[in-house]
């Protein structure tokens, strides 16, 4: 999966988790939780979706690396080459 596809996938998952939020102006380099109403349980939902869809289990110590959209893409890109 390419970077732009990973970004689209993450946005689609976020929309599923927080369907009331407008994601159209989400900035890539700012913490997602600073831009939309999203809490730690929602973040865990995103981790669960990655696990269910792609078998990717993100270790807790890496959670901070997925705090932004850009960070998430960078983190997931090497893990999602086969998809």
């Amino acid at each position: 999966m390419k970077a732009q596809d990973i970004r689209a996938m993450i946005l689609e998952v976020i929309h599923q988790i927080v369907p009331d939020e407008d994601l159209s102006n989400l900035k890539g380099d700012v913490r997602i939780r600073d831009q939309i109403e999203m809490d730690s349980m929602d973040f865990l939902d995103i981790m669960m979706e990655l696990r269910k869809r792609y078998g990717i289990k993100v270790p807790e110590e890496d959670y901070m690396k997925l705090a932004t959209l850009d960070g998430s893409v960078a983190y997931l890109e090497p893990l999602m080459k086969q998809f």
Partner: protein
Amino acid sequence: MNNETRIVITGIGLTAPNGNNLTEFRQNLLAGKSGVGKIETHYMGEVIAGICHFDPLKYQKKKEIRRGTRAGSIAIYSANEAIADSGLALTSIDKSRIGIYLGVTEHGNVETENEIYNIKQFDYNVDFWSHHHNPRTVANNPAGEVTMNMGITGPHYTLGAACAAGSIGIIQGLQMLLLGEIDLALAGGVSETPNTFGVFAAFRNEGALASHPDPSKACRPFDKNRNGIVVSEGGCVCVLEKLSDALKRGARIYGEIVGYAINSDAFDFILPNAQRQAECIRFALRKAGISTGDIDILNTHATGTREGDKVECQAIREAFGADSNVYINNTKSFIGHTMGAAGALELVGNLPSFEDHIVHQTINIDDLDPECTFKNLVINKPRKVDKVDYILDNSFGMLGINSVLIVKRYEN
């Protein structure tokens, strides 16, 4: 009795399989319209059930619905509707003085079954078990979701009382008002039970799950050919307050709760006991300071099981006498068994009788069971009566829990 110790119902919010507010619910009861249909459930395929059709988005965001439970959504809808109906503005009330007391027959089965169904797809790897499971399954969930939705900071909890829970929620609200713990109660009960296959399977395996080619005829209390329970969802929340407070703000008063009782059979896990049910009725009458002759409408608990209906009829004969003139009806015949909501929903469906003097009927009686006959059992069409001053509502549940509520027409 002064107005500080008289508790009245001043708002009603509900969702039933045949109506999403009291007006609609009552109209459909009088029109003989059932709300029972068919749903698909895990492992069992199609089952007969009563499902509510309210719009959860009226009071919840999509995310709240996703995070919470169906029982929570039903409770939130019913509580918001009750406050709206009461004419109270939440902004003008001290929210720390509002208590939420909701009866539940069971809670957590749906969410647990869903998670097991979910992890089955992942070979039972618990890494896929939802982190939402605990907040969804704690027993206070439905009431707690109401607090978050409405910003109510007073006490909240559910009352686990099998199928007597809806009326016990109301009794708890009344008691907390009388104790001075709160100024306003949101009290009643909720059910999300049709979403759990386990309840259907257990009823079926004990020979107590209703079946009929026409789902709307499946729930048929007092009929000779009745064959079990129709499992339904539903919610009913009443705004309760002291009469003095209600009068001060010029509230509409649906009725005054003048009598109530809760007792236990101490007898069997599932079998009911006529003697204890009759005793519960007598306790409630004594609390109200009235006699059986004062009751105009008796709304039965009868669920459509062979034994349960027969035993309740015995209890009524024991408490009221075999030739009582009381008008007797049943609401489950329309909506099935709304479990934790039943006691509250079935009571409020009858409250309009104080004004319209019509007793709603029991539907689906094609062949009346001779063991369930009463002089004034209202069968298949509503009955116009001269007056309705007192309504008595029976609710009984497994493990032998009985509750009875008596509501009096309010007069200035």
